[in-house]
Structures are given as structure tokens and as C-alpha cells.
């Protein structure tokens, strides 16, 4: 019981503070923070432009390309049985993650 008791008071405090300061974690939406679902959805329509979708698609295809190239490189050059396969998978995962981060950064700077 003592562990449960702070919950209502914490929720009340959080709700008032958030509604006074504007939304912080929006996806909780109406459920937790008292943001109307309709205004939440309308803000999507107001702020999204076709070019945003274009940026997303360009980024997705570049990431897909970089994953394919790095993974295929490590897969083709694998040596030494089961141990080698494990090491290749590890290297592929690491380099794909780094490639995604770097290309994401470059594309963000380039495309805005």
C-alpha cells in the first residue's frame, strides 16, 4: 500500500505542471497529460510538409543501402568456420550502426 499511495498525487502534480508548461512527452496524449487527441493529430497535419516525407524516404533508402553494403562486405570476407561467422556478424552489426549514424548526420545537415 505505501508504494501505491504516491501514484495519484504524483499524477495530479505531473498533470498540472505539464498543462502549465506545454507538452513534453506528447505520445502519452490524452491518457496521461491531458492533451486532446484531436489537437495532437491536427498538429501533424499543420506541421508536416511533403518534403518531410521525401527526407524520410531518402534517409530510409540510404540506410538500407549502407546496411546491405556493409553486411555483404563482412559476409563475403568471412573466414574460419562457426567462430568466423560469429565475428563477421558482430563486425557487420557494428559497422552498419556506425554507417547509419554517420549518414544520418550528413543527410540531416544536407537536407534540413
Amino acid at each position: 500500500v505505501p508504494a501505491i499511495r504516491p501514484i495519484p498525487s504524483a499524477r495530479a502534480a505531473f498533470q498540472t505542471r505539464i498543462s502549465a508548461r506545454g507538452s513534453h512527452t506528447r505520445l502519452f496524449g490524452k491518457l496521461l497529460l491531458g492533451v486532446e487527441l484531436s489537437s495532437f493529430l491536427h498538429s501533424f497535419a499543420d506541421n508536416l510538409k511533403p518534403w518531410d516525407l521525401g527526407i524520410g524516404l531518402i534517409k530510409a533508402s540510404v540506410f538500407g543501402l549502407s546496411i546491405a553494403i556493409t553486411s555483404c562486405h563482412f559476409g563475403v570476407n568471412v573466414k574460419g568456420g562457426a567462430v568466423g561467422v560469429g565475428r563477421a556478424v558482430n563486425d557487420a552489426v557494428v559497422s552498419a550502426a556506425v554507417a547509419i549514424m554517420i549518414s544520418d548526420n550528413l543527410l540531416t545537415m544536407l537536407l534540413r
Partner: protein, 259 residues
């Protein structure tokens, strides 16, 4: 048909049993200190030092992108960038720093552990351990568990520092925001630090257990090792996200971290 269902259920039950055994045996043996001498230090080097560059590079770029996007959005709405630094530091400490660092570790460390353990399973080295009355969980998983528990917090701290530095650099170079204004630590409270530390401990413990379980359940030859590694990366990332959600909710409702 019933045979297929029966076999699937049997396999699922065996997997659950193995996972439960890995989880409880690892926790119990870690408390009792049943692990090979010197192995933990070696694993700390493997998990910590060998991941340092990877974590720094990825978190540095994530910090740059996050600050860049935030400044773009704020510029579009209010144009007052002075609050960006304080809020960025706060959210980095209690949310993004530990979670993104753990996601990166789940890919690198999780794949490494599953590949190593899985290749030992398919080459029957684990059976050889059992023949010598050595529990493979004590010998293989527990040192990695202890090492990961210790090193995740260290890596997350360094990662947060790198992300902050790169974020401040981006804000300064692209948006002419003075670093003195950006480094505003006044909003970070004790609750945020506790939440971040708790997340580091939870992720650090969860990743080697999940990856070790996937490695121990590897079957077949090198293809089985590849499958186990893929499964380890997916499950470890999923567990990190799940724990993030649970701990964030707990922290929000108890000590109101993040408000």
C-alpha cells in the same frame, strides 16, 4: 498437425526453461562469486574498452543530430534557443544517454556474447565443460554479466559527455548558440541521476543474460551461430526498450523524474 503443434510447444517450453535457468543461475552465481578467476577483468576489457570508440562515435553523432533537429524546431516555433541546452542535458541524463548507449551495447556486446557462446555450443566445447562438471553458465555468462553490469554505467557516462560536447559544438557552429548558455546543468536533479543510474544497471544486467541465453540455445553449424546472433541483437534491443519504458514509468510516478 497435432505433432507439429506438440513439437512447437515442447520447443517453446524448453526455451523458457533454459531462459529461466540462465537468469536465476546467473544472478545466484554472481552473488556467490562463482566465476573463473581473472575472467571478469578480461571481459570488462572486451565489453568496456573495446566498445568505447563505438559508443563515442555513435553517441556523438546522435547528440549532433538531436541538437540540430531540436534547434530547427525551436527556431520555427519561438526562436529562443537559450532553453535548448538545459533541456537537452536533462533528457540526456535520465533518458537518452543510458538508453541509446545500451541500444548500441545491445548490438555490439549482445552480438559478441551470442557469437562467442554460440560457436562454443556448436563446436561442442560447452558439452566438454559439462563433462568436466563445470556449469557453462558459471563459466561463460557470469563473468560477462558482472563485467557488463560494471561497464555499462561507465560507458553511458562517457557517452553522455561526448553527446553533450558534440551537441554544444553543433549548436555553436550551426546556430551560433554560446556554449556557456548551452551548458546549463541547473535542471538536472537527483531524481534524474538516480533514474539514469538505475537504467544503466538494468540494461547492463539484461544484455548479457539475454545474449547468453540466445548463444546457449544455438543449434546446428555456423548458420545456427548466425541465427543465434541475430536473435540476440533483436531480443537484447527489445529488452532494453521494454526496461526503458518500465523504469521511466516507475520514475515518473514515484520520484517524478523527467518533469
Amino acid at each position: 498437425m497435432t505433432g507439429v503443434i506438440e513439437r512447437t510447444l515442447q520447443r517453446a517450453a524448453a526455451e523458457v526453461g533454459l531462459f529461466r535457468r540462465v537468469l536465476f543461475r546467473t544472478l545466484a552465481s554472481a552473488v556467490r562469486g562463482r566465476r573463473p578467476r581473472g575472467e571478469t577483468l578480461k571481459q570488462m576489457y572486451q565489453i568496456g574498452n573495446r566498445s568505447l570508440l563505438f559508443v563515442c562515435v555513435t553517441l556523438g553523432f546522435i547528440g549532433m543530430v538531436l541538437v540540430f533537429q531540436t534547434c530547427l524546431q525551436v527556431n520555427r516555433i519561438t526562436g529562443d534557443l537559450s532553453q535548448v541546452g538545459g533541456e537537452f542535458i536533462k533528457i540526456l541524463v535520465h533518458e537518452f544517454g543510458p538508453s541509446l548507449c545500451a541500444m548500441m551495447l545491445a548490438t555490439r556486446v549482445g552480438a559478441g556474447i551470442a557469437a562467442e557462446v554460440g560457436s562454443m555450443v556448436v563446436t561442442e566445447q560447452v558439452d566438454a565443460l559439462r563433462m568436466n562438471n563445470v556449469d557453462p553458465i558459471d563459466y561463460l555468462i557470469v563473468p560477462r554479466f558482472v563485467a557488463s553490469l560494471a561497464m555499462t554505467g561507465v560507458l553511458a557516462t562517457i557517452g553522455v559527455a561526448v553527446a553533450l560536447g558534440m551537441g554544444a559544438l553543433t549548436a555553436w557552429q550551426s546556430f551560433h548558440l554560446n556554449p556557456v548558455v548551452f551548458f546549463d546543468f541547473s535542471r538536472v536533479r537527483g531524481g534524474d541521476l538516480i533514474t539514469g543510474g538505475l537504467k544503466c544497471l538494468a540494461y547492463g544486467g539484461a544484455i548479457p543474460i539475454v545474449a547468453g541465453f540466445c548463444g546457449l540455445s544455438a543449434r546446428g553449424g555456423s548458420e545456427g551461430v548466425g541465427n543465434a546472433t541475430t536473435r540476440a541483437v533483436i531480443s537484447a534491443s527489445f529488452v532494453v526498450i521494454l526496461l526503458d519504458f518500465l523504469i521511466s514509468g516507475l520514475a515518473l510516478f514515484t520520484w517524478q523524474a523527467g518533469t
